[in-house]
């Protein structure tokens, strides 16, 4: 018994160290956002100081605030996510149910094409968007983001769909349900977790994206990643405000993550062990 408690103590100790490693930098960012600019660079670094909310105030209400940028980001991320899910889910389902020899290589190709390094994509996308007049517009940037998120979403979802035995739908069809009804009422609930996971990743990628946002956005479309970078302006870096902005920018994703957490765990559980290996 004593060995057990000793073992547990070691485990807890290791766990605590690891937890610390992950949270201390974040905690430091929180501390920084509450400091005066002068305090931020004090050395030795201070943990006790006079906290102030003025950085948050400046970031949200000041002359260079990020409210418009947050709105921009929300629109882009929501649109990209919604459109991706709406297209990817049926597509993944259909793809999973196809009985094609070419399925695997085609699936691989679809995934592989999104491995093109960003540098190779900037110029072609820039030219395309200009050609169709969608430069510096929401539809343009959302379209570009979807070219990343669609293959990823489809790839992620297909394996979960394949997991669901065809017998389930056959049963529904025998009950004279249409294919669509079978899909909606029988199949979809099973993959709720996977969809939740996909939503998180697609949203996160769209939300945190920087390079394309800078090049393809402009006066109209300015997501928060670009505006955060602008706290590193040409004369100085406003560390405290940058920290405050970064924390605020993290909030929507964290909220989304917490909300979908239940689904994520069940979702990952279902697919992780069995289904994914099937292909």
């Amino acid at each position: 018994m004593r060995k057990r408690t000793f073992q547990n103590a070691i485990l807890i100790g290791c766990g605590a160290i690891l937890l610390a490693l992950w949270t201390i930098p974040i905690a430091w960012a929180v501390l920084t956002s509450l400091k005066d600019e002068k305090e931020v660079l004090a050395y030795p670094p201070t943990v006790i100081f006079e906290a102030t909310l003025k950085n948050f105030h400046a970031v949200l209400f000041g002359p260079t605030n990020i409210v418009a940028n947050l709105t921009s980001s929300v629109i882009i991320a929501l649109a990209a996510t919604a459109l991706t899910i709406v297209i990817a889910v049926p597509a993944a389902y259909a793809f999973a149910r196809l009985r094609l020899r070419a399925k695997r290589p085609l699936g691989f190709y679809v995934l592989a094409t999104q491995l093109v390094p960003p540098i190779g994509l900037i110029i072609p996308y820039f030219l395309i968007l200009n050609r169709i007049g969608w430069m510096d517009s929401y539809k343009g940037l959302v379209l570009v983001y979807m070219t990343f998120s669609l293959p990823f979403a489809i790839w992620l979802l297909v394996s979960y769909f394949e997991d669901i035995p065809r017998e389930m739908e056959e049963a529904a069809l025998l009950d004279r349900a249409s294919r669509w009804q079978a899909f909606w009422h029988v199949v979809l609930p099973q993959v709720r977790g996977a969809i939740a996971v996909t939503v998180i990743f697609v949203f996160l990628n769209a939300w945190n994206e920087f390079l394309f946002a800078v090049v393809l956005g402009g006066a109209n479309v300015k997501p928060v990643t670009v505006s955060m970078y602008n706290y590193i302006n040409t004369e100085q870096t406003q560390w405290a405000q940058l920290a405050a902005a970064a924390l605020i920018a993290m909030l929507p994703v964290i909220v989304l993550g917490l909300l979908a957490q239940k689904h994520i765990v069940s979702g990952l559980t279902a697919g992780a062990v069995k289904g994914v290996g099937r292909r």
């Binding site: 690891l18 960012a29 390094p117 540098i119 964290i254 062990v273």
Partner: protein, 277 residues
Amino acid sequence: MVAPGVLALAATTTFPLLYLVWQSLQNINLAMPGMDRYVGLENYVRMWDDARFWAALGFTIVYAASTVLLQLVLGLGMALLILRIPRAQWAFRIAAILPIVIAPVVAGLFWRSLMLTPDFGVVDFASKALGLGSHNWLGDPALARVSVIAIHTWQWTPFVFLYMLAALAALPSELYEAARIDRASAWRRFVHITLPLIRPAIVVVVILRMTVALSAFAAIYAATGGGPGTATEILNLYAYRVSFAELSLGYGASAAVVLLAMTMAVAAVLFGLRRSS
């Protein structure tokens, strides 16, 4: 249902790919427009002799391999650990979300200026306090490489942790009961029962993390810019510099093509592993 979707997808992703390859066969230099011309495989030939390219390629492999391996070991280890302390799970799960959701560019910046600056940063302060002395974390070439790997690992291990946690939690407990009755040790239980069962999950997470590691850009760009010198210049960054800083778009495109080929090769190998399970 799927045909139009996949077609549109293939179209939007194939065009840039073809354009990229076409660009890599040209000499396009924005500084000297009069010299733009088709050069066939000359860019690739030049790359063969380019020491900086090989250095970038080498470091890309080292970077991707080490960070993915570290993420796997640490993430899996943590997941196994946390399963033993179920009461603390919620704290870890919440803490794990945080590094993942920071924009990589912000992470790189923070680590560079607030954490790792010798004599000024928090990490440096801590290392001095622990008696490890101050080091030039981002200025010394070898240390800089370690630092950027560490930053990437810091940001993404929680992802592996969460994924593995879910995978492990789904394992049926009867298997463990049976093994315990047979008085198998914890290690043997792990190697012979757990590992094979979660192998598919491991492969998936390795694919996901590997593709991200190979195309990492924002964090390294913000932390070191590829420096000191060219020590932390992964291929992605090298291609960016050549294209945009040196304005040699054709050569940059060829570097990007090589990176793409490499990524696809790695992905193909990993996919093969999946199938054989």
